[in-house]
């Protein structure tokens, strides 16, 4: 299977997080599938017996997901985005950085444009902001905003009412 990166003619990345897609990674894939199955079973079990109770007495803090900018449409349904957004963004980042393809539908910049908070103007500044609220809940560290701007480009059109 040809690796997608080879299409860009740039030197191949031997990055830390590169997915080779070779048979060598079959065992992790099998493990992941197994873990996913187990997790799914666990989630169903929890949903069946404990979750309503927890939700009823409000002891489990739920992430507050801020609404996206009005009049915008996400590139996929919420369930897909919740599960797949890391893979979608990781795939696109190589196409953009190495291949120079910009303006694709899956773009971190486009995510931020729609999901930046109306209050803080950012997706990661305050604890209630779009990216941080879920990532704090899932205890997954988010590294994107060490380098990427967490707020949309400030343009004159956006500033004016």
């Amino acid at each position: 299977m040809a690796h997608p990166r080879s299409a860009f003619g740039a030197s191949p990345s031997r990055g830390r997080r590169q997915r080779t897609g070779k048979a060598g990674s079959a065992a992790p894939a099998w493990l992941r599938a197994r873990v996913l199955l187990d997790l799914t079973a666990l989630v169903f079990a929890l949903a069946a017996c404990t979750l309503p109770a927890l939700a009823a007495d409000g002891r489990t803090p739920q992430p507050v997901i801020e609404a996206a900018r009005a009049g915008t449409q996400c590139i996929a349904d919420p369930a897909t985005m919740r599960r797949e957004h890391p893979a979608i963004l990781e795939h696109q980042r190589d196409a953009t950085v190495r291949g120079g393809i910009r303006g694709a539908k899956a773009s971190l910049k486009a995510c931020i444009d729609c999901h930046a908070s109306a209050v803080s103007g950012s997706v990661a500044k305050a604890e209630s902001n779009f990216c941080v609220s879920c990532h704090a809940y899932a205890a997954v560290q988010i590294d994107c905003f060490g380098c990427h701007a967490s707020r949309p480009q400030v343009t004159l059109a956006r500033q004016l009412p």
Binding site: G9, S13, G15, A26, V97, G100, K105, G146, C147
Partner: protein, 259 residues
Amino acid sequence: MNPGQRDDPAPDVVPGPASRRGFLGVAAAAMGGTLLAGGVRLIEVAQAATPSPTAGANPKVRWGLLIDTEKCASGCTDCVTACNTENGLATPARPTDAQWIRKIEIKEINGQRSASLPVMCQHCADPPCVDVCPTGASFKRADGIVMVDRHTCIGCRYCVMACPYQARSFVHEPLSEQKPDVPRGKGCVESCTLCVHRIDQGQQNTACAEACTQAGHGAIVFGNLNDPDSEISRRARAAATTQLRADLRLGLGVRYQGL
């Protein structure tokens, strides 16, 4: 086990102890299929999710700069300021801040002649920074632009050492207020990108060249060295140009006139 056995088809109908190997073969094939399906699905997502993406780096193009040192004004730093503003670098820069372009003054030791010129990443055809990078983060795009993929850069700074032009900088401190088009962060090496975000959007001019023209000097020309009709090619044909440290034979994308 003989060496050729691996390539044989899995004997999935052999009875007895060998049938376990057959089962493993079938299982491996099934997992391989799962993986392939996963990979294919990802590609479909990316391709279907492209309403109007740009075409990407064109391998027929070779972007470059021509710098006319006769026109470059001593003491003028408009190109440096424009670069800092465009890419969100600190202005005025502290000694430890990253520097993508700098102005230098050179003078003949036994003569009166002096020249002022900007120096930035020379976008080599055979970049030493790419040769030494242990992670593949330092790379050359199809259109000749040499860049750092910050996603894979580990900040080892081998490229800083390898570059003969001291074009690369390391970001020592946490940054904030980056430009959405120019992500930058602590722990990575960076250098001039020839305003790659502008090029990808079809805007064929760098911030430094634009500022130089606006200042009335017109000392920096940006263009496609592979296109014989471009201004940069015409000027490179009309006058003698120099590559810095031409003895290294790195095939530079930045040419100097009047040195």
